[in-house]
Amino acid sequence: MKYLDEYRDAPVVRNVLAEIKRTVTRPWTLMEVCGGQTHSIIRHGLDQLLPEQIELVHGPGCPVCVTPLELIDKALVLAARPDVIFTSYGDMLRVPGTFVYAKTGTQANDLFSVKSQGGDVRIVYSPLDALKIARENPYKTVVFFAVGFETTAPANGMAVQQAAREGLDNFCVLVSHVTVPPAITAIMEAPETRVNGFLAAGHVCTIMGVGEYRPLAEKYRIPIVVTGFEPLDLAYGILNVVKQLEAGAYEVENAYARTAPNQGNLAAQKVINEVFEACDRAWRGIGVIPQSGYRLREKYVKFDAERRFPDVGAMQSIESDICRSGEVLQGLLKPDQCPAFGKQCTPLTPLGATMVSSEGACAAYYKYGRIQD
């Protein structure tokens, strides 16, 4: 396919890797923020093709992984209600929560289990599909699990605006949006951080542009390079970060300009600003990061599932203490360094979201056989 195949061209990727090798003189630690990039790196073995001075650590950019346990439990409770049709992107269905399904008394700790026990849970490809379900089922409340980074926020916000326009009062959203820049701040503020430079998430920047990364590069003196997802994109992003590090520079560069213009998508930013406002958000395994999430503005608050179902809004949950995904999400621990990895914790018996999400670092290591004997 055009715009994919040419960025998977092995000889050109090898050229760029050779250029990285020629450039590097010292050890550097780079973090790719985005879980999609983590999967691409591990799948293509890019990390193993880099010179040994360069270490890639994996960041918290998987919204499925960082959605707090509390919100997963709220989703399970809502999905189990007979008067609710619960709609979600597919990657949230196997994320483990702690809820016990009251109807049968048996354990149902993810949305798939709730569905298998009679809950009306439907996977949607787009939030517009959830709106269609709401139009077709006027006597049920359709809850949409509005999860994601800035990439997904405009689409989810559009659905809320559209529901308001159409007067679809049986539609509401369980919001768990997170944003990237505050996460970079949290990573750089951590005393044990080893990160020298960042590959910024290409599709987040497609929406938001590059402007909000300049103060971060300046403050922490780190190069930040907007990077795409194909092997060539990733190699090119890594090369740009390494070139800057070797030169002592700390600029924001865009190595994915074909898709992510520097100003971002203004129409999408407008939707985000009209529908959402910044709020403190707990990241699963990491804790509360100030002003790192979106919640609905007062104008749209009647579409907030937590307000519509107040008993759900007040729920609190306690996390398992075996799962070390919080350290994995901050780049402090590689998945295969976790004692539970591949033993108590596998994709079939996950302890944390990082093992089941299609973008989770633990899932990537397991899927592509990075298991230490």
Partner: protein, 85 residues
Amino acid sequence: MCLGIPGQITKIWTDAASDLPMARVDFGGVGKEVCLSLEPDAQVGDYVLVHVGFAISRIDEEEAQQTLALLAQMGELAEELGETT
């Protein structure tokens, strides 16, 4: 979650139920309906990046060519310098 796939617009219309601008986008032989409200100026023939049913970016042909040319050149340069990759 932030996965985006590039595809080419083959048809544009307004959806009757929602009044939203829609497009048929071809992904290497697979067609899908995509909302254009975040890229309202996109035209038939344009390549757009699609995420959760929305076009979120029009792919910049010129930028794409420039980057590829630059990276291909990197190899030629290395060859001239007599290096093997």
